[in-house]
């Protein structure tokens, strides 16, 4: 428990007749890459939304960095170091790459009730923008509006923005969704590099990526965690293989067991 960065206790959320999250107890240790997987509609994104504060759970508690954040508002959680990225890339299309990153930096260095100086001339931002650009590998594209980036580049920018506040933990919601093979390789490299810096909770459909990146995996079915453990243990778990039968993803497990 001392090593736990993020934990939930009997987290529950219901939408009408659908129990989206059911008594979920999840523990993510400092420094690990924890993957949350499950068939479509298992409620993975709902869990992320509760962790980031965009949804309020009906029951249960969430702990982050040693304190309960269950009732904390979205921006407070972000300021505590809990950053997220979205399944549907959510960057600011009308702003340039540089401006996008600059906004993300701004969120974490003091208030922004500064009305006079150009944001681009703010020393607090200038000092942090180049490392941020380098980290996402988009130096060549700094003046391009985010709307004109390729899908993969937008993903990189999105993750880069989440990293600007030097978060303790990153919630990644299906970063591989809609990615071509080239982008997948780039993204895996980026995530592998991040693993050493920040704790990650990864929600992902791409089983290849999950099994190669994750330290631990939790499997969610109908809002309930049916298994949690190392990739090897999950690969051989009977309940998991049953849940994935007919999903077409079970072949990842078959060979190894």
């Amino acid at each position: 428990m001392a090593d736990t960065l993020l934990a939930t206790r009997s987290l529950s959320k219901r939408f009408g007749a659908v129990q989206a999250t059911k008594d979920l107890t999840l523990e993510v240790a400092h420094g690990e890459l924890h993957a949350l997987i499950g068939p479509n509609g298992a409620g993975k994104t709902t869990v992320l939304n509760q962790l980031s504060g965009e949804l309020t759970p009906d029951r249960g508690r969430i702990y982050f960095d040693g304190r309960s954040i269950t009732n904390l508002r979205v921006h407070k959680r972000a300021q505590m170091g809990l950053a997220r990225s979205y399944q549907i890339t959510s960057v600011f299309d009308h702003l340039t790459v540089r401006e996008n990153l600059s906004l993300a930096i701004q969120a974490h260095n003091g208030h922004s009730f500064r009305f006079w100086r150009r944001a681009g001339d703010d020393p607090l931002i200038r000092g942090a923008i180049d490392p941020a650009m380098a980290r996402v590998g988009l130096e060549q594209r700094s003046r391009v509006p985010a709307a004109n980036l390729s899908h993969g580049e937008r993903r990189q920018l999105e993750v880069g923005m989440a990293l600007c506040g030097r978060p303790k933990m990153l919630l990644l919601d299906e970063p591989y969704a809609g990615m071509g093979p080239g982008g997948t390789v780039e993204l895996t490299k980026l995530i592998r590099r991040l693993k050493s810096e920040v704790t990650i909770l990864l929600v992902e459909h791409d089983m290849g990526a999950v099994f190669s990146l994750a330290d631990r995996i939790t499997v969610l079915v109908y809002g309930q965690a049916i298994a949690s453990g190392s990739p090897e243990a999950i690969r051989c778990d009977r309940a998991v293989r049953q849940a994935y039968l007919g999903e077409g993803d079970n072949h990842h497990g078959n060979a190894a067991c």
């Binding site: 980031s52 965009e54 508002r73 979205v74 921006h75 972000a78 300021q79 950053a83 997220r84 979205y86 959510s90 960057v91 600011f92 299309d93 009308h94 702003l95 401006e99 600059s102 906004l103 993300a104 701004q106 969120a107 974490h108 922004s112 009730f113 500064r114 009305f115 006079w116 100086r117 150009r118 944001a119 681009g120 703010d122 931002i125 923005m161 600007c164 506040g165």
Partner: protein, 327 residues
């Protein structure tokens, strides 16, 4: 020189020499008309700060315009008569000095915007439009029922305010003052939209949810933007009282908010000079078309539809070309 700077310089020169032009053409009325245009431009630019940059579509902006106008008129009339505005709990006298009254009008409008904004910004989209409209109508009916100050009929200002070094009663001097106020406001707004604050507000327009997950307490930034916009409209109100030397509840009516909104759309939302052009276009059209018909809006309607359909950034986008934004 690109098209944008060319257009702005041209417009600035035209406005600077306008009183001269009016004298040459022997049309002194032009000075009055353009003072009015400058004042409405100020109101429209202030609305665009929250609408075009902050993404807050308000149909109640005239409320702040009216609050500023009434504040100046009521205090000036008391000042002229030498009667107190309030006798309880303490005595407040009237005044005629612009340097005192106008900042006060701005302050009162900002205060009204703070209250209305704090409540309306808890909603979004259509609800936000309706609630700003409702608040503005409440204020409208408040002034309609204010019999002491003319109620439905409004009230007249006996004389324009006084200002050291400037004779506001002189139409030409008043015109140049309006021009200076607008230019200053535009400059401040230009700094604002490119500042850290401006970036946050623009981010909120595009994706407020994302701004929150980045760690911004978005509500307070949007509220401050709303208050700044209200303050700008209050200043425009202070000027309009002096220009027409008359106020009426019509200044706060929702159709007035609609007119200011149309100026922004027509001129180019999300640009700083667009609303100025929009105000000029709308008021000049009104002026010219109403010679021929009192139903001049019949011609305005199709024109507005064409502009909105074919010129995304309004008249300004048309003239300046490109995607020139960011003020």
């Amino acid at each position: 020189m690109n098209r944008k700077t060319l257009a702005i310089t041209g417009g600035a020169i035209l406005l600077l020499v306008l009183p001269l032009l009016a004298a040459l053409l022997d049309e002194p009325y032009l000075v009055t008309l353009f003072s009015r245009i400058l004042i409405y431009a100020l109101a429209a630019v202030s609305l665009d700060l929250m609408l075009g940059f902050g993404g807050m579509v308000s149909l109640g902006h005239a409320a702040f315009f009216g609050v500023g106008a009434y504040a100046v008129c009521i205090l000036s009339v008391h000042g002229f008569e030498g009667t107190p505005v309030l006798t309880w709990p303490f005595t407040v006298g009237g005044h005629e000095s612009a340097l005192l009254l106008w900042p006060l009008a701005v302050l009162l409008a900002a205060l009204a915007a703070a209250v209305i904004g704090a409540l309306s910004l808890r909603t979004s989209g259509m609800h936000f439009i309706m609630i700003t409209l409702a608040f503005a109508q409440m204020l409208y009916y408040f002034f309609v029922s204010l019999e002491t100050y003319g109620g439905d009929d409004g009230m007249s200002l006996f004389a324009r305010n006084t200002m050291p070094g400037v004779d506001l009663a002189d139409d030409r001097q008043f015109y140049y003052l309006c021009l200076a106020v607008l230019a200053t406001f535009l400059f401040l707004a230009h700094r604002l939209v490119n500042s850290r604050f401006g970036m946050v507000v623009r981010g909120c327009k595009e994706n407020e949810r994302r701004m929150k997950t980045l760690g911004f307490p978005t509500f307070r930034y949007r509220l401050v933007c709303f208050v700044i916009a209200g303050a700008g409209a209050g200043l425009a109100g202070a000027l309009i009282t002096n220009q027409t030397e008359y106020v009426s509840p019509g200044l706060l009516h929702w159709t007035r908010s609609g007119e200011i909104l149309v100026m922004v759309l027509l001129g180019g939302m999300g640009t700083l000079f667009g609303p100025v052009l929009g105000a000029a276009a709308l008021l000049l059209m009104e002026e010219m078309l109403s010679i021929y018909t009192e139903h001049w809006m019949i011609y305005l309607g199709p024109f507005l539809i064409l502009v909105v359909l074919f010129a995304k950034r309004g008249i300004y986008g048309w003239i300046a070309g490109g995607t020139g934004n960011h003020g």
